[in-house]
């Protein structure tokens, strides 16, 4: 595009408007501009040349250049990376400042907890260990905090026998991630597929699923979990009632242990799936109803596409886009949102850990868990962004 922009004339502000045709005419008639990006067309002469061409022969309505070469949307990716880097920075900083703004701190809490078993002189040592040294400035503490963080050091957990926080979280995180993560994915996939079919056959017999799943969605987790325990564990004895595996079983990568884990995870996973699938069904169904009214669905049918193809390739493919954003949110909440479920099933995940940390006023551990939560939400959103960009070509260009 010309550097001297004042000599170029473009279409109006609404040049990206699909109906903007006059522009295209100009761009195409001006020699050599056929392959240039839409806007600029030399003013002088372009209009008077216009009449001499038969527009039908030139192919006048181009507003966009040929996409040549790379289809990787670098601009888009770069923009998102910057955005997430900043968000992560902000979240981590907030995570640093909030405990320091609260009344009392971890050390005081610990001293109080020890009920005089610790000498007051120990406080200073503890402070240094916790990174809460009063004698250093907040700024220095902040730098110290970042330094520790980058070395994977999140401090020590007073409620877990002074074990490093990273280890404590590391022990709990896989349980939560695998159980809740897999359950959420199952729920999303099943709910979306069912929702697509229900939406496609609106007014059909499958509509009964809508109130049923909505009802299940309103049932609180803990209540559903308790009922499952009562029925499937206590009454029928099909599944164990809690924990990730029986005490006494040695964890290891063998069939016995894995089947043990799966049978323990079954009830909590089922609880999550049953309680959350309704939302996916409803969301997908409603989106399907909107999409089914779009012209391209009628076109697909007029084109003689088989129903199955219209349903999945045309309707569901578009209707799933908003679902993906909700899915990202749901993934973010995996780590924290299942606290109740982990309590009911005594499942050794992050939720239970957070509860214990809160009860014990274990600030370092709480801080560590919050950090994990924030990072989980960010990672989930990045994944959703990528999925969205793959599935919706429009996003790649409009939101850089």
């Amino acid at each position: 595009m010309s550097a001297d922009t004042s000599t170029t004339v473009g279409p109006g502000p609404d040049s990206r408007n699909p109906e903007n045709e006059a522009v295209g005419v100009q761009a195409a008639v001006a020699p050599g501009l056929g392959a240039a990006p839409i806007v600029a067309a030399p003013v002088s002469g372009a209009q008077s040349d216009a009449v001499q061409f038969d527009p039908t022969l030139v192919g006048t309505t181009a507003t966009k250049a040929e996409r040549g070469g790379s289809r990787v949307p670098w601009r888009f990716i770069g923009g998102r990376v910057l955005f997430y880097a900043f968000t992560a920075f902000a979240a981590i900083s907030i995570n640093f400042f909030i405990p320091r703004m609260m009344k009392g701190d971890a050390v005081q809490a610990y001293m109080a907890q020890s009920r005089g078993l610790l000498q007051p002189s120990a406080e200073k040592a503890l402070r240094i260990q916790f990174g809460l040294d009063n004698s250093t400035s907040l700024w220095q503490q902040y730098w110290h905090y970042w330094g520790m963080l980058l070395h994977g050091d999140l401090g020590i957990s007073i409620s877990s026998g002074m074990a490093p926080v990273s280890e404590v979280i590391g022990a709990a995180l896989p349980w939560t991630l695998s159980l809740v993560g897999i359950a959420t994915i199952i729920s999303f996939v099943v709910g979306t597929i069912v929702g697509a079919v229900v939406g496609w056959r609106r007014g059909g017999r499958l509509d009964f699923l809508v109130p049923v799943t909505t009802f299940l969605g309103t049932v609180p987790y803990f209540w559903l979990g308790l009922i499952f325990i009562a029925v499937f564990a206590s009454l029928l004895g099909w599944f164990p009632a809690g924990h990730a595996y029986e005490l006494g079983v040695t964890p290891g990568f063998n069939l016995d242990f894995i089947s043990e884990v799966i049978s323990h995870a079954a009830l909590p996973a089922l609880t999550i799936v049953i309680a959350s699938v309704g939302g996916w069904v409803l969301g997908m169904r409603n989106m399907m109803l909107t999409v089914l009214d779009e012209d391209y669905i009628t076109v697909a049918q007029a084109k003689g596409m088989p129903d199955r193809r219209v349903l999945w390739r045309y309707a569901a493919r578009n209707a799933v886009l908003p679902q993906i954003q909700s899915f990202a949110l749901a993934l973010g909440f995996i780590v924290g949102g299942t606290l109740v479920m982990e309590m009911v099933f005594s499942y050794p995940g992050i939720g239970l850990l957070l509860l214990n940390a809160t009860n014990a006023k274990d600030y370092a551990l709480m801080q560590g868990i919050f950090l994990v939560l924030v990072l989980a939400v960010l990672v989930a959103n990045i994944l959703a962004d990528i999925a969205y960009a793959i599935l919706d070509p429009r996003v790649r260009e409009t939101e850089a």
Partner: protein
């Protein structure tokens, strides 16, 4: 006598990724009371930018917009006076009327704001305005916009525009969303009001045929520039600018079409 003057107005937009775009390029014209100017252009020509500048949604990058020789004030009483003098009628009568308010409310509002008539005469004035746009006051006053047809809604929008007794009216594609059989009715109404109230009307449209019949003068806008201007018949019947000629050739014109056809052999090439 009120005059609105566009003096060498240029509007440049900075569009990310595209650089600068000149939406308007040194556009000048004068709109006076008792006169209708047709502003003809296709999408992207800059005609909507002119409407946006007039409604103060945009400010010119260069050049001036003068009302009776004075620049448009940025706020306060002066701005209110400007808005009272120049009113708009938009394309979409659905979008420009609030669905929660009655027709009476829509027309009373400008009457109250501009204190056009004393409070006790509000009702009479609303009725007068509705009659003015040929609506039956008792039938429509208490209704809401969605209870009216498209043509009726556009008439309400016109009545509302007239409420503050403006001297200039900007009609931005006032009939393009209406059904064909009522378009002419609304246009004729506008023409009558223009004549009887001595309004100056800026009629913004993409349609050459209505522009010709409805305007005294026509300006053709292409890529932000006025490429041709003159009396309505001159511009449409004897266009000089290539772009205007192209527009005219592209617009359906059965009259000329059948004249040419009978001149050639019947059943000629289509």
């Amino acid at each position: 006598m009120t005059t609105l003057e566009f003096k060498n107005v240029t509007k440049i937009y900075n569009v990310r990724g595209f650089g600068q775009i000149k939406a308007l390029d040194e556009v000048s014209f004068t709109l006076r009371s008792h006169q209708t100017i047709g502003l003809v252009g296709q999408s992207g020509s800059g005609k909507s930018t002119i409407a946006k500048i007039l409604t103060q949604l945009e400010t010119p990058t260069r050049g001036e917009v003068l009302l009776d020789g004075a620049p448009i004030p940025r706020g306060g009483k002066g701005l209110r006076k400007y808005r009272q003098q120049l009113r708009m009628v938009f394309q979409d009568p659905f979008a420009s009327l609030n669905p929660y308010h009655s027709i009476r409310h829509h027309i009373e509002r400008p009457l109250r704001l501009d204190k056009v008539v004393p409070r006790d005469q509000l009702d009479d004035e609303v009725r007068r305005l509705l009659l003015r746009v040929r609506l039956e006051p008792d039938a429509v006053m208490e209704r809401r916009p969605h209870e009216l047809s498209g043509g009726q809604r556009q008439r309400v929008a016109i009545a509302r525009a007239l409420a503050s007794r403006p001297s200039l009216l900007v009609a931005d594609e006032p009939v393009s969303m209406l059904d064909v059989s009522i378009r002419l009715g609304v246009l004729n109404l506008l023409a009558d009001l223009q004549r009887e109230e001595g309004l100056g009307v800026l009629y913004i449209t993409h349609d050459l045929a209505t522009a010709r019949h409805f305007s005294d003068e026509i300006m053709v806008l292409n890529q932000g520039k006025v490429v041709e201007r003159g009396t309505a018949d001159d511009v449409i019947l004897h266009p000089h600018d290539p772009y205007t000629q192209e527009l005219r050739a592209a617009s359906p014109d059965p009259e000329e079409f059948f004249r040419d056809r009978s001149a050639r052999t019947l059943g000629g090439v289509r």
